[in-house]
Symmetry: D3
Subunit: 143 residues, 6 copies
């Protein structure tokens, strides 16, 4: 059977800052620039979740998008939307809330539930602004 990839887009809005507590304020500013503002800033994050599989004979679906969308909303959007990524998200407590790390955390949240729902998580793409995004394949290196 030949695999195909389906992707669902969701969005969330959140505050964060990039700040390392054991660095001086000056070093934080030097490394993180405006992103270190102690009073936070925020973004409209856009998330694309890609699942790999083969279309079922009955439905033509790799996975029902309603199922996938519900998983992403219940497990990710509920946890991150209109939140402060540094303060309100326990799983991010001890790590930098960089786009890279948030994407990896989202992969880790979704990998098992997607498998239990009959799919295979293949990629997380997370866009922070129109000028930057990250892509994570669970550690695979397609290129």
């Amino acid at each position: 059977m030949k695999p195909i990839y389906i992707t669902r887009r969701e969005t969330f809005n959140a505050a964060h800052k990039l700040y390392k507590a054991d660095w001086s304020e000056q070093k934080n500013e030097e490394i993180f620039g405006k992103c270190a503002n102690k009073n936070w800033h925020g973004h409209n994050f856009t998330l694309w979740v890609t699942v790999k599989g083969t279309p079922h004979a009955d439905t033509g679906f790799v996975m029902n998008l309603k199922t996938l969308s519900k998983l992403v909303k219940d497990l990710v959007i509920e946890a991150l939307d209109h939140k402060n990524l540094n303060l309100d998200v326990p799983i991010l407590n001890d790590i930098m809330a960089s786009t890279e790390n948030v994407a990896i955390v989202i992969w880790n949240i979704l990998e098992e539930p997607v498998k239990e729902a009959g799919g295979e998580l293949a990629k997380i793409k997370l866009e922070e602004t129109e000028n930057n995004y990250v892509e994570y394949y669970g550690g695979k290196q397609p290129f």
Copy 2:
């Protein structure tokens, strides 16, 4: 020689429904939700066709985009644009008109003609709404 990938975007608008004749109306609604509406609904589909190759020394082209665009318009857009995917497209008659299946059908339509034109079809991306799309690599699994 180092390969590079070129992509051409085209669009088409079509009606379809997701409905399995040997299921009850109730089961169709349970599985397909609003997509099972017996009177059809529709979408602006966006299609990206990717071809792999190395730039010709004379032209700097992997493949002339006019040639690629003409192939896609003649063989795909002509067949699908302003059509009912379930009723008007013979090649889709016996299969669910899911985005997955439509993308695979488009690959099957284009693979040989692209080869005859000197290119190698590498990817079909088909977007149904701003919130979902599928990607098909002819069965390859890049990730």
Copy 3:
């Protein structure tokens, strides 16, 4: 008090055709082209609803976007999404399902409920494809 305009975006997907029953098939094709396909075609419609008012001192809102979004979803999206505009929407039964007419119908549906919710409907923008949209100001001619 100086008025300001707020806009809420919603989307719906629908099938329709442009076909005049008392015209010959040939004339329908001549006027409506591919849009006259008897088996329907469809679109992802994007709708922007604009309300005019002055920000409330307490909330800073012209109108709570949750209220506006609920009105649009309950009264418009529920009626049009995943529907056949010609067959499934009683209010469109006797008129051409052109983008112009659908926009006017949406205005007529929303004008009173928006007023009852404390706002003033100012504009309906309805996009049918990336290449065409209509704007309706309830008959006003700003330009």
Copy 4:
């Protein structure tokens, strides 16, 4: 002379919350929903600044876009980008940081400097998410 309108787009990212100190937490949640999260959330704001005028015979410009862009960056983006709209922006201290109020404040900041630079500020459009934006014409009601 016939006037024409030019628009410059800029972006900024900021945190904010919608919260009225003299309301109970419950009432804040009822009115502002997730936007009342005490730990803030944030957005990528997109700002369009429109200036009216007639093209100069020498330059063909209503106003040099470099001048306009510098004004917007120096006076608005510098003040709002990577900031907390409630805490870091003195001019917003005593008013709700709703999109409506932020747009009006931006108008008030830019009106005079644009005039001094030879233009006439005509419109502020401020988008908070892909689903909502506000437009302010300095109190004029074009429709």
Copy 5:
């Protein structure tokens, strides 16, 4: 009858420069910056043409979009696409090829033909980059 506005989008790609022959090279650079590069630069221009009218009872159309699109393609796109705006477009020969002036020229080209086709030209919007565009209402000042 209540008027409504329809808009058709078209695109063209062109080279141009902003350079005043009777100014020194230094003054050209001071005023026009990189846009004065003597070897030209270029843009993907996006054009929106808006026509005002009331929907015809038979068609539901203000104006058949096929007619409008053909007018724009024949009279504007044909003249500007893949051209050098300074060298290849006689009507622009003696004026600065600023976005403002190109938009006004497009209005002047289309106003009469649209009227002859039964519509009323209402607005030209011309986008030069994602960060700047102009809007022209034939000299009207809606705001």
Copy 6:
């Protein structure tokens, strides 16, 4: 360690033509169509530069986006923005200024400097118009 991919978007505007000096004007037109216009045309190019790596423990960054953005601006945008790709860019002097070749040149410019800055260049995506783009992985064939 599991690699992740970060991408930075930048834009530039340039003129070019596709024209082979040792071909007749007729053959140039046959192969390159309107792109052969001797007086040039131009585009708004959009460039996405993707770097592969693992997030640093301190910063959560694969590579500081400020560093990456500065490299791209200094080495690529400075060389190509508001330029004539055929006349003003020495590295393109002897090769067709096709999107494919420009993307490969950008890879070659950035590969070493990105490595020196601690990253690994993984992909160049270059969009010429909304309807076509190329992707180059340094010769790798992910699919």
